[in-house]
């Protein structure tokens, strides 16, 4: 086996996996806290791709050209606006359904996903959109003929997602907000009795999840440069697969699941068939749910009366 091809596929897998991990955070936190699959999360990611292009064009038209400033401004506003989306979606479509049947929030989420896709399609048009390539350059390891390569923006993706992950882990484990989140996740009623505003915590979780998806969305858009209103669907399911693979409800699990899925997918498309790589990912999802629904790091769920 060619060591360089293997290395390249693993590296591609790592990059893809950190993206999946960032999006998976939204699924895993929401599932952990209110036990629903936020089907519209993939479309939040899609919204952030559009926001990237719009913000970049606005920032350039203001005459700001310094690259770090442009990047930070785009990231900040994209994460803030998508966070608002997350908050509003929870408030409008999920909060009135607390205590309803188990299927109701999921159906509402599917409706919300259709709304977001169609809203973007109507306002921005159905055609492919793009952003200019801002960060050029590539790092090569190895010889002249054979090498493993990674572009600078891809390095940025890996670093940014690890920083995002670390910051989030710190918040959840060390701050008062994080303690409240964990308490709400363990027992919502008891947390409410102890004086935690659980509705606000749930909203916060939606805002955090959405802004992490926006972080992924901005970086991926800068990397690939092109997107349309439908990109959220497939990446959403794959990120959900990552969340389940790592054990839904567990933060490190989301990142681990993302990287495992990304690498498995990279190896599969490199050595078996790239036509069937989505089939492989969906098949993996089915197998994990059937044989190990609690995932790699999750605890098995016990159903009680």
């Amino acid at each position: 086996m060619d060591i360089y091809i293997l290395g390249q596929q693993l590296l591609n897998g790592l990059i893809l996996g950190s993206i999946y991990g960032l999006i998976a955070i939204g699924y895993t936190m929401v599932y952990g806290i209110i036990g629903m699959i936020n089907f519209a999360h993939g479309d939040i990611y899609m919204i952030s791709a559009y926001l990237t292009a719009i913000l970049l064009s606005l920032i350039f038209s203001l005459g700001i050209t310094s690259l770090p400033v442009v990047l930070l401004l785009t990231l900040f506003f994209a994460m803030a606006i998508t966070g608002t989306y997350g908050w509003a979606i929870e408030r409008v479509a999920y909060r009135p359904l607390r205590g309803s049947t188990r299927l109701a929030p999921l159906i509402s989420a599917i409706g919300m996903s259709l709304v977001l896709q169609s809203y973007v399609q109507i306002s921005q048009g159905a055609r492919n959109q793009g952003v200019p390539i801002l960060i050029k350059g590539v790092l090569r390891l190895g010889g002249e003929e054979q090498f493993v390569q990674i572009t600078y923006i891809q390095i940025l993706i890996v670093i940014a997602s690890f920083i995002g992950m670390a910051a989030l882990t710190y918040i959840i484990l060390r701050t008062s907000l994080g303690r409240q989140c964990r308490a709400t996740q363990q027992d919502r009623k008891m947390a409410a009795i102890l004086g935690i505003n659980t509705n606000r915590i749930i909203s916060t979780v939606f805002v955090i999840g959405s802004s992490m998806a926006a972080l992924a969305g901005v970086l991926v858009t800068l990397n690939y440069g092109s997107f349309d209103f439908y990109i959220g669907f497939v990446i959403g399911i794959k990120a959900f697969t990552a969340a389940v693979l790592g054990g839904i409800g567990s933060l490190p699990g989301a990142m681990l699941g993302g990287i495992v899925l990304g690498m498995a997918e990279g190896l599969f498309s490199g050595f078996v068939s790239s036509d069937y790589k989505d089939v492989f990912a969906f098949g993996l999802l089915v197998l994990v749910l059937v044989f190990r629904p609690s995932g790699l790091l999750g605890k098995p769920e016990i159903e009680k009366v």
Binding site: G35, M36, I37, Y50, L51, A53, I54, L55, L56, S57, L58, S61, I81, T84, Y85, W87, A88, V92, A93, P96, L97, S100, T101, R102, L103, A104, P105, L106, I107, S108, I110, G111, M112, S113, L114, V115, Q117, S118, Y119, Q121, I122, S123, Q124, G130, V131, F233, I237, F240, D275, D278, V279, F282, G283, L285, V286, L289, V290, P293, E303, V305
Partner: protein, 425 residues
């Protein structure tokens, strides 16, 4: 005794103001700044209008909810949350017996009244009625959310096309084959996944649906991939509905010595489909009153209670899954024969979501509701072509509103009442 609160205009105004600001943040960039290449075009009037209406709406709700009268009217608008199933009254009105024969006759006479274009629209609507009825068994009655229902639809359609292509079998042979094939397929997919609870089941079925579509798309040598495959038309006792018959066949119009018209084929498809839909409605209505149907509904309401009362949840769920799959397969055969040509792009997740929207809007579990929703959701967009863009948006909004407002559906589910005979001493 209710505490009389002072109504606060200030609070209502503040609520309205903040929701307006939030709406501006949300709608501003996406609908206000339209991408044109790397530039943006200013359309800021649109989000301003949206934000203004959100602010006014929030203000009105916030103000009205503080007054007794307002609460009363809002309560009327939202309606009671009535749960469960009610028992129908025994007394029937005089005309109720007439209703069903009249509807059937009206249905049979539809092809006489409509031109070819509207006939094809109605056929498509009936296919969706069939799909809605099938998915209703799985989602509405048994309470399992199936997001990959389109897989069985695809299996039915491709069974017809592949049967014709490789074994030269016609519509009438493939109809039962597809029904059984789809049911078997449902059993195969269903068996491993039925142990898991609601949301995981939904995602697994979604995964299966996508796998089926991708496999159909990638197996170029067998299915034709994205180029699709052709499907045969039905025949009437060997008579074909083409202008010129294939070798050995006789065209319908030559046998009866009438002029050729392309709409004969559609009239024929319509009539078979109508009969199939009627039979299916009868089948589902009867099924609901049988022990199996009751077990489905009981399992939907409380799985743990059912299992403690000795219902085998795997068999019961599997039967619902297979039944739904079978109906989906039949609908697929009709879709293929009606289009004459199929390719994987007809079987995307969006199709599953549309069928789910039909079932949800019809009221999970209600047969009449599903039929009405299917007819409305397929015929209305044809009639309102100008709003075609907004179709999906409206479906989505309707799904959310329905869950928030009436999760049990617009039409109340009624269970048939039985009269006890006079007690004999």
């Amino acid at each position: 005794m209710p505490i009389q609160q002072k109504t606060s205009l200030r609070k209502a105004l503040l609520d309205g103001f903040w929701s307006g600001i939030l709406a501006l943040i949300i709608f501003g960039p996406i609908s206000g700044l339209v991408l044109k290449g790397y530039e943006v075009q200013n359309e800021l009037m649109r989000p301003l209008l949206i934000a203004l209406s959100v602010a006014v709406g929030r203000f009105l709700i916030s103000y009205l909810i503080q007054t007794t009268k307002g609460r009363y009217y809002l309560g009327k608008l939202v309606g009671k949350r009535d749960a469960g199933v009610t028992v129908a009254s025994l007394t029937k009105s005089k005309y109720q017996h007439l209703l069903i024969p009249v509807l059937v006759l009206a249905g049979l006479s539809v092809p006489l009244l409509l031109g070819k274009y509207w006939l094809t629209v109605v056929i498509l609507a009936l296919i969706y009625v069939l799909l809605g009825l099938g998915l209703n068994i799985v989602v509405g009655l048994a309470g399992m959310l199936d997001l990959g229902y389109v897989a069985f639809y695809a299996v039915g359609a491709y069974t017809l096309a592949m049967g014709a292509q490789y074994f030269e079998l016609g519509f009438w042979t493939m109809l039962p084959v597809a029904a059984i094939g789809a049911a078997m397929f449902g059993a195969m997919l269903g068996f491993p996944v039925l142990r898991m609870h609601g949301d995981y089941l939904a995602i697994v079925t979604l995964g299966f649906g996508e796998i089926i579509r991708l496999v159909l798309n990638n197996m170029l040598e067998i299915t034709g991939g994205p180029n699709g495959a052709s499907a045969p038309s039905p025949t009437l006792f060997g008579l074909e509905f083409t202008r010129r018959a294939k070798q050995g066949g006789i065209p319908f119009h030559e046998y009866f010595d009438i002029a050729y018209s392309p709409s004969y084929k559609y009239i024929f498809i319509y009539l078979i489909l109508f009969v199939v839909v009627c039979l299916m409605i009868l089948f589902v209505t009867r099924l609901k009153q049988m022990p199996m149907g009751r077990a489905w509904e009981a399992l939907r309401e409380d799985e743990i209670a059912c299992r403690s009362l000795g219902i085998n949840h795997v068999t019961v769920k599997l039967s619902a899954f297979m039944m739904g799959a079978m109906v989906g397969g039949i609908a697929g055969v009709f879709f293929a024969t009606y289009q004459g040509f199929i390719n994987p792009s007809s079987f995307t997740f969006f199709e599953s979501a549309l069928i789910l929207a039909i079932v949800v809007l019809g009221g999970l579990g209600s047969t009449v509701g599903v039929i009405v929703a299917a007819l409305v959701l397929t015929i209305l967009p044809e009639a309102l072509r100008d709003f075609a863009e907004y179709r999906v948006l409206l479906f989505g909004i309707a799904m959310v509103l329905m869950m928030v407002w009436k999760p049990r559906g617009l039409i109340r589910i009624k269970r048939k009442a039985y009269e006890l005979g006079e007690p004999t001493a």
